[in-house]
């Protein structure tokens, strides 16, 4: 190994999941130089998934969601400090407090933030919240403790649905407003969307799909209710805005890097691109802020908001930061995600939105336990399980090997040939009909993408 790569100065901007795991990996792989982590939150790294689950049920205090360290990282921690820019020429990170941090290699892991309610005045009403940080979750938990008469959740993606679930578990009245035809439909398509809608209603959620909230109503600075696009109104003391995430890339506007609303683009080795599409060799990206090409999904640039992706990508980025070219690894992990809501464990592998058809390969909607498999142009691209997570390993393999869709029938718990229906997700980007790519090798350093000619 070349000595200089394990020495020098590394700066990581973003001190959360990806930042921490990268720091640990750098040390584990022998980086002996100076390591600095910059994070604008005042806390040491903590874990976000519990914020919309256990924290809202009062099982874990928001302040106890800290991420356990895997190993000492021996770093300078600049917490509560925002990075305001990067000077790629002098190789410095500019800090909002006026400081400058020189680096030899830089890792950008600034993640995302909650998309705010578009009307700033309404967003300032007391009782209107988002959930992304520890403070957010503590604030919401406190409001739920106070026993609001009704909670309005705007947006029925994963976070919104989990929050609605926590409210119902606490016996609170909750209205969920979703512009789309069903909860989770944007992420999981029509079959599971319909399932989720029935599930929410069965748990007493007042679910309103196909409408938008046009305004939040207030009186004396406090939220009192909301008006919908169909003219109806409800009363509510709390409104949780769960409209998805915004990538924290604005601070990179003058950096010359390929940063925009969809993230900071990088290559398969986590190296950032400049705005001209030229790959850098000293700026790396990982976690929710990254956009990266994935061979299994026809090299589309994926932006994922997945805990597991943040960890794996951080590990690959850190490895590549201290490894010479031939020893670098691609980030080829198959995306995976989980959610728990309404007593169910939902898990996903692959990219469900990258699909044109789905089939229920195991179990059934009636049992409330099932595996839905997604296909795109005749090959398996994703699978989602409801209370059946142990089977997903099998489908991960099918995705990795670009196995034909629909998968061969014969599962013990789904003996008849499965019915294939349209996946009803927003169409994947228009693609040329290309060759199929599969992954081979099982060890991280032996993984390869192999291309099979079209036909």
């Amino acid at each position: 190994m070349t000595g200089e790569l394990t020495q020098g100065r590394i700066v990581i901007v973003g001190a959360s999941l990806a930042g921490l795991r990268a720091a640990e990996t750098l040390r584990a792989e022998g980086f002996g130089g100076e390591l600095t982590l910059v994070g604008d939150e005042p806390h040491p790294p903590y874990d976000r998934p519990p914020l919309s689950k256990q924290v809202l049920l009062g099982r874990v205090a928001a302040a106890d969601a800290g991420l356990p360290a895997r190993r000492p990282v021996d770093a300078h921690w600049k917490l509560g400090v925002r990075a305001s820019g990067v000077d790629p020429v002098t190789k410095e990170v500019l800090l909002a407090d006026g400081g400058r941090l020189p680096y030899d290699r830089l890792l950008i892991a600034t993640g995302t933030r909650a998309r705010p309610w578009p009307n700033p005045e309404e967003a300032r009403l007391d009782g209107v919240l988002t959930v992304r940080t520890m403070e957010d979750a503590a604030g919401l938990a406190e409001r739920l403790d106070a026993g609001p008469r009704r909670v309005l959740v705007i947006g029925a993606g994963f976070t919104g649905s989990e929050i609605a679930s926590a409210c119902r578990e606490r016996g609170l009245a909750v209205t969920v407003a979703e512009r789309g035809p069903a909860p989770l439909v944007g992420a999981l398509g029509g079959t599971l969307g319909a399932f989720a809608a029935r599930l929410q209603r069965a748990h007493g959620v007042h679910l309103r799909c196909g409408v938008t909230v046009t305004s939040l109503l207030g009186s004396g600075g406090r939220l009192t209710g909301a008006e919908f696009s169909d003219g109806t109104r409800i009363e509510a003391d709390v409104a949780v805005v769960a409209l998805g995430a915004v990538r924290n890339t604005e601070w990179l506007a003058d950096s010359g890097l390929a940063a925009g609303p969809r993230g900071l683009a990088c290559d398969a080795g986590c190296r950032a691109f400049t705005m001209y599409g030229i790959v850098t060799d000293d700026v790396f990206v990982a976690g929710d802020v990254a956009r990266f090409p994935h061979p299994l999904f026809e090299y589309q640039m994926l932006s994922l908001e997945h805990w597991g992706n943040a960890v794996e990508q951080a590990e690959v980025a850190a490895h590549n930061m201290v490894s010479p070219g031939p020893r670098r690894r691609p980030h080829l992990a198959v995306p995976a995600f989980w959610s728990s809501q309404f007593g169910l464990n939902i898990k996903s592998v692959g990219v469900p939105t990258f699909s044109d058809q789905v089939t229920i390969a195991q179990g059934s909607v009636e049992e409330g336990r099932l595996v839905v498999v997604y296909g795109y142009r005749g090959r398996v691209t994703a699978a989602v399980s409801v209370n059946r997570a142990k089977w997903l390993e099998h489908y991960r393999r099918l995705i990795e090997t670009a196995a034909p869709f629909p998968p061969a029938p014969g599962a013990a718990d789904r003996p008849e040939a499965p019915r294939v229906v349209p996946s009803d997700v927003p169409d994947p980007k228009v693609l040329s009909h290309g060759p199929t790519v599969a992954l081979t090798g099982h060890l991280p350093d032996r993984r390869l993408a192999v291309v099979r000619p079209a036909g």
């Binding site: 390969a361 195991q362 179990g363 049992e367 336990r369 595996v371 059946r388 142990k390 089977w391 390993e393 099998h394 393999r397 061969a408 029938p409 014969g410 599962a411 013990a412 718990d413 789904r414 003996p415 099982h442 060890l443």
Partner: protein, 413 residues
Amino acid sequence: MSTETLLERINDYAHRADPYPLYAELREHGVARQNDGSFLVGTYHEVAALLHDPRISSDVRHRTDPDEVRARSDGLPPSFIAVDDPEHDRLRRLAMRPFGPPHSPGRIDALHGALVGIAGELIDGFRGRDRIDLVDDFAYPLPVTVICRLLGVPREDMPALRAWTDTVIASLDRSPGEETWERQQAGTAARTEMAEYLGELADRRRADPADDMISALVHDAGPEGPLARWELMTTLTLLMIAGHETTVNLITNGMLTLLRQPDALERLRREPELMPSAVEELLRYEPPVQMLPQRTPLTDIEVGGVTVPRGAPLYLMLASANRDPLRFEDPDRFDPARRDNEHFGFGSGVHSCFGAPLARLEAQVALAALLRRLEGPRLVADPPPYRHSPILRGPRHLLIDCTTKDDGAPGES
């Protein structure tokens, strides 16, 4: 070149002490069809794929061979280890309620003190002796006492359960022999008697609950309702047998391995915090369950370029997969600090070992106590005499010469 098939040679008692060269041969051959129409798979990635494949059944009633189907069709219905989803899933979930998370997260941890106490008492019994049989004096009574305490089986009934269990285990052995049929009949009878005993015990607990798992099973049913009586009987029988026989071999194989590798033994004495990873390594290196002989494809499937037809007996050779050089670095080396150790000691997938948290704790406590208190332990015979079974493989006896220290460890009584 031997004319026997690989399976016959693996089953041959002569190879019991060291089957690993045969497994290496198996991995060379890839998926191997045997003369009797069964298939052996011994490479890691192929075993992994099959363990997770929903088209692979654990229910031998799906075999093409009518004799096999018949052999399993008399007596009680199969327990959840031998049926498929969704039935398996429901039964396993109901059994898990009183055993582990999410409903009973503390049950196993709560046993820690009792376990340390039982191990300590058994070792106290070695005092004044300079030779012990690790199997009969320690590795057998420990898990049996624990599983009986967990379930709530009275002490005085333990010998009867031991006898039934031995008979059932003997009947699992599919290696050809004169008494195969008799063994199976006896096994079926013993399993039924044991199940009836456990069913009656459950009836008593229904009327008069105690602080044990059987009481919890009959009283805290959960939203899906309780297990039917016969389901309760087969489930308890499964827990009893599975909780009995495997841990014995893990503890015994563990001591045997450490006595063969004095460096590792010394290291564990110096760094007792390595024990959890050493136990994982033992589960890889000398797994008590060497193979899963009960799998059957429900449809023709392709594995490693070979088509295994529907209904054919499929043997997943866990111990072989655990030594696959394509998966593990230096696989024949015992490395108590090994990382990246996703072994198949507990299987994998939906049937992966239900009792794994308990088994891990038992082995960790047992081996730690032995290392702390046995002075100058030496093997009397190497290899030791083995049990007959090639499936649940382990020494029948393990004689060790040693002296026994009093337990000076603080807070461990």
